[in-house]
Symmetry: C2
């Protein structure tokens, strides 16, 4: 139940409305766990029922109202309990890696386009994560700044370093995806030149093809790294 703890992790900095929480879920600063309003409002009600947050109704203009949620002592305890609890590793289901399994029944052009867009997507993610790291390092991330202000200076390094580390995890992931997609482009190229060769000299069966030799080279490389 990570959404709950993502919300506690923001509310521990300052009280806010469900609307604000939904905003922070996509902000550079925030939840680190995207969620729509359809998830956030009911979850806040459940958390209130569980005593992890308390709501205060505040007026908004003349007629409207809003509910401002604050974390309770019990909520802080729950956040710590969850953070200390060992992680349960679940099955990995990666749609991108999975899909390439079946690229033997797809044209090389489509495969190539897939890897190119994979690179593009992860380059965008990469630069976003790196911007966030800068925001933490120079303390311009507003939630972080507010959190630091409420804590003794001795704690500041731990707060910043672990948040940066979380981002470094995403950065490492994005870099690995980019490297993998480049490997994919290489496979496509190898298969394409192999195809061209077969076409050029009739359809003689290739005993040791270029692609297979290249593959062996890659395996050796992997073993040596």
């Amino acid at each position: 139940m990570s959404l709950r703890h993502a919300m506690l992790g923001v509310l521990i900095v300052q009280p806010m409305t469900g609307y604000d929480l939904a905003d922070y879920s996509r902000a550079t600063d925030g939840l680190f766990w995207e969620a729509g309003q359809a998830q956030i409002y009911p979850e806040l009600r459940r958390m209130e029922a569980d005593g992890l947050v308390s709501a205060k109704e505040a007026p908004r203009g003349k007629l409207a109202k809003k509910r401002i949620y604050a974390i309770t002592k019990k909520g802080v305890d729950e956040l710590r309990r969850w953070a200390e609890e060992p992680l349960v590793y679940t099955a990995i289901r990666d749609p991108a890696h999975f899909k390439t399994n079946y690229f033997d029944i797809v044209s090389l052009d489509v495969s190539k386009a897939f890897f190119e867009s994979h690179i593009k997507h992860h380059k965008a993610l990469l630069s976003e994560w790196e911007d966030r790291v800068e925001g933490m390092r120079d303390r311009s991330a507003s939630l972080l700044a507010r959190r630091l202000a409420s804590k003794p200076a001795a704690d500041h390094d731990a707060i910043v370093e672990f948040r940066v580390l979380a981002l470094e995890g995403q950065i490492g992931r994005a870099k690995a995806e980019i490297a993998w997609a480049r490997q994919g482009l290489k496979v496509v190229d190898d298969l394409r030149s192999q195809e061209a060769m077969r076409k050029a000299r009739g359809s003689r069966p290739p005993v040791a093809s270029r692609a297979r030799a290249a593959a062996r080279a890659r395996t050796r490389q992997r073993a040596g790294s």
Copy 2:
């Protein structure tokens, strides 16, 4: 809807029962998409209703029966259509990276244990993926061997290379996680020595702490790579 296509991807090699499919979902060879029986049996019925597979009732012993599912022409078309279709990238929610955000409210011992078990977990995954690659390279993976047998030699490289590539994606991921967790252990060490220093010379506020200097070094390293 990747489960459906994972199942088609196995049934394209040979017809089998739902029970067999559930087995292959965890086998070294198989689905690449874990799923329990509670998902597989109803999905097979839906796929049958959609005309992607056809079932043949076969006797099992004297009284019992089993349903053997085979892929249809429509099923093969659907597998190709899905493989060609661009991937829709969804929000990333990584519980491990996410959790480290909150390690400032957790003891350094617990944090250390987290990173150590993260390394252990991903080393195990890594060696499993690498074994699978070997099984593909030497053609001892039974589903792969059967698939190759039904296809012309000219297609073999593409089949093997893309399946190996999918595994390389997982391998790259596991390696990135291990590297990240080691970075995490370093952060813990830095914070621990910083803590020890503070304890040794009273609680003078540290202007430029070791941990922050180390962090700057890491940022430079990242920028240079």
